[in-house]
Symmetry: C2
Subunit: 114 residues, 2 copies
DNA sequence: TGTACATATGAGCATATGTTCATGTATTGT
DNA sequence: ACAATACATGAACATATGCTCATATGTACA
């Protein structure tokens, strides 16, 4: 058997606060342009050193490292050291789909609304 | 013919800052638990009054209204007045998929990482 | 062991975000 | 016209976020 898809308070179809927080946390990871660029770059390249990422994203190495830390702590990317370098790669198989869907989203409907 | 999927700086596969900002902005809308709950509730119910939404989400009507404003300005929801009430509904067909993917994401892999 | 290189991390700071509280606007009913 | 209802909005404020700068850690090489 499977567990229920989402924790469900009987009698309501509403999303529990708990679940909403988890979901929001996931989205929050991708709510920063720098992190989106990092994730995208890793999806494209498979594996990159911190320096390369910083270069691609045009951010300082420190800022990049801080961003990578967040992604790492959230389990979205994984790091492995090779000599003095640290190489990062995507660790979460769902991110690609999530980004793809968002790209579609972005392409179809954008503009200002009242 | 179709336009290129994403603005592409020739010679690089990297996501342009511009595009990254657009994508991040979309994710940012769903990066707040309250807004996730609102969107979820609207996806479930089709159409809801502000008061109902506030009740469901257990937030003040003012806070809810502020959140709805963001979603509305971003074109994610649409409002229509009926008497003194204002009814909101999802205006962006892609949101459902985005949330669904995130839910899958959330169900499969969560926990703490080093 | 000492130095250079690659990355990580903490503190501090400026800005962004979400809430509340007060007030404004639209609509209905008396 | 007046009061009540439903929602929107602006200002103020507390907290969160992401950056820089300084410093720490880990690795390679002389």
């Amino acid at each position: 058997m499977k567990q229920p898809a989402l924790s469900q308070t009987p009698g309501t179809l509403a999303l529990r606060r708990d679940d909403a927080e988890q979901l929001a946390a996931r989205f929050k990871l991708l709510s920063d342009p720098g992190r989106v660029q990092i994730v995208y770059a890793l999806l494209e390249s498979g594996e990159l050193r911190v320096g390369e990422i910083a270069g691609t994203v045009e951010a300082s190495e420190s800022a990049t490292s801080h961003q990578l830390r967040q992604l790492r702590l959230a389990g979205l990317v994984r790091a492995n050291r090779v000599g003095r370098e640290v190489r990062y790669r995507i660790a979460d198989s769902h991110v690609r789909l999530l980004l793809d869907v968002a790209v579609e989203h972005y392409l179809h409907d954008h503009g200002d609304h009242r």
